[in-house]
Assembly symmetry: C2
Homo-oligomer: 313 residues x 2
């Protein structure tokens, strides 16, 4: 087996993912858990990280590169923000080294948009973007959609992030389906498919009339009361309405004159958003989110670590 | 003191209000409590009602007219729906008498819009509308905005409800401020004023770009992270964003060719919505929601009860 060169960690609010990487940026081992920032803040960030490093038998001096909420004020060590407009590789020079630990651990900063009318922040997605662009020489205007709890719509000019907006799609799905009047008898969201007709119809309705978002949300309830919707269909309509409105808003706030749209997603979300983009006839380039974040962390490792690392691309 | 002729009850999801009325529709006594449908379903509807009737020393045979969620399937007795388009006075003939009780108790039905694309329901607001129109001879097209947990935007043609849409404004304020990432350090909503600059600016921003609703919600969080917003201002922005998007949506779904807009509201909500309408330069006629529901219940009493009641108007 190749000797591990570093560990790459994507540490979000509610999830922890670690990859043990070789010098060429290939995966030697992987760990996934729910020990995101929220849990780790209670359990201790070093304890959570070391337990996963032990599980993959990492050497005591293996360096670690981290992106995501671990760098938030309420995270491990605050890694600050790079302000937009920002050249993406500039993120790397903002990395913060965790003090008083026995190995080299760097946390990457986030991006901040300090605009009075549209303040915004991201942590972790900047590393995905860096990875998505790594090895290419992007030119021209691009929109990148990065779905999630807080979906990001990013406007890129070449390698420069000129602006971005966060849509609370995933979080609204959670709170509305758990804590609102819609909570009565909604089926599990995991059962929603991107090509389900109720889902695609809801995407189209909300994309066409996004100003009616909270009205369309209520139709999930009234549709059930008037005995038209099943519990599975209700979850699909809720999901479709939120995603359709997000796409309408994201296009409007990212500048729709952009030539191409990238969709950075993995797993279930990728299927839902691909279905949604197709439902509103929006052409896009799919980019795997997991690969993108690893590529971004690898680019950071190449720049930050005192090692001879090779590019894979 | 005049002899009470009936009790008028507005029984919502989370609130109970009772007025003891004389034959001319004047208030002799009033009760307000939080024993709405949700509490009453546990405590017993007859028990809750009788305790309030006793408190105002109502006679054992005093008749009662009820509107609101007490008539829902999960309420006391299901009072069904009258389908739109519906002539408002037709609601009265759909009243259901509560069986096996020692006094005459009638519950008014709600309205249902059985449209595949826009299913919707209301309970209680139809009685407010009836009261708001009582004594007038409405003609032409009107929009009526009825703010609340589930705000209703109603399109009226004369006395006919031709359609309506529900916006989940109040409920979204609740769930987002309690259960989302915005919950961190939001001030009490009771501190928001309709003429607060942060509120009116948020109303205008969301009215202008309602497709960005969930993005504008996130700016409440990012605005605080980037140290621009205080906790009080954050609550004002959250409220303004939701109300501004509601107005944009309500106008679009109610048909903006309508000549006049009525705003049926009382108390704190009235101040907020009056401030919001003014912020987007929308002329409107204010109608007191409490007076409207009492007038509607009185109209129902005159038609349903075997009494000689007089009109006050």
């Amino acid at each position: 087996m190749t000797t591990p060169a570093y560990a790459a960690v994507d540490w979000g609010t509610s999830s922890f993912r670690l990859w043990l990487m070789d010098p060429a940026g290939r995966i030697l081992a992987e760990r996934r858990s729910g020990e995101g920032m929220t849990s780790a803040a209670k359990m201790g960030f070093p304890q959570v990280l070391e337990s996963h490093l032990q599980a993959v038998e990492a050497a005591a001096d293996l360096p670690v590169i981290i992106c995501g909420m671990a760098g938030a004020r309420q995270g491990w060590i605050e890694a600050g923000y790079v302000d937009v407009p920002a050249l993406l590789p500039a993120v790397l020079s903002g990395a913060v080294e965790v003090p008083q630990v026995n190995r080299k651990i760097h946390i990457l900063p986030g991006l901040a948009q300090r605009a009075r009318e549209a303040p915004d922040v991201m942590r972790g997605e900047e590393t995905q973007l860096l990875g998505a662009l790594d090895g290419s020489e992007p030119s021209g205007e691009q929109i990148v959609c990065m779905p999630g709890t807080h979906s990001k719509w990013v406007h890129l000019s070449g390698e420069t992030v000129s602006g971005f907006s966060t849509y609370m799609t995933g979080e609204l799905f959670e709170v509305v389906s758990k804590h609102s009047v819609l909570a009565h008898s909604l089926a599990d969201a995991g059962s929603v498919d991107g090509d389900q007709p109720v889902f695609t119809a809801a995407v189209r309705a909300a994309f066409k009339a996004p100003q009616r978002l909270t009205n369309l949300l209520f139709t999930v309830r009234s549709g059930m009361l008037l005995a038209e919707l099943t519990a599975t269909d209700a979850a699909a309509r809720l999901s479709g309405v939120l995603i359709g409105a997000e796409i309408a808003g994201g296009l409007s706030s990212s500048g729709s004159q952009a030539a191409s749209i990238g969709l950075v997603a993995s797993g279930r979300l990728r299927g839902l958003y691909e279905g949604a983009f197709a439902a509103v006839s929006l052409p896009f380039t799919p980019i795997d989110a997991d690969e993108a974040v690893r590529a971004g962390l690898s680019a950071a490792a190449r720049q930050i670590l005192p090692l001879q690392l090779q590019r894979t691309t």
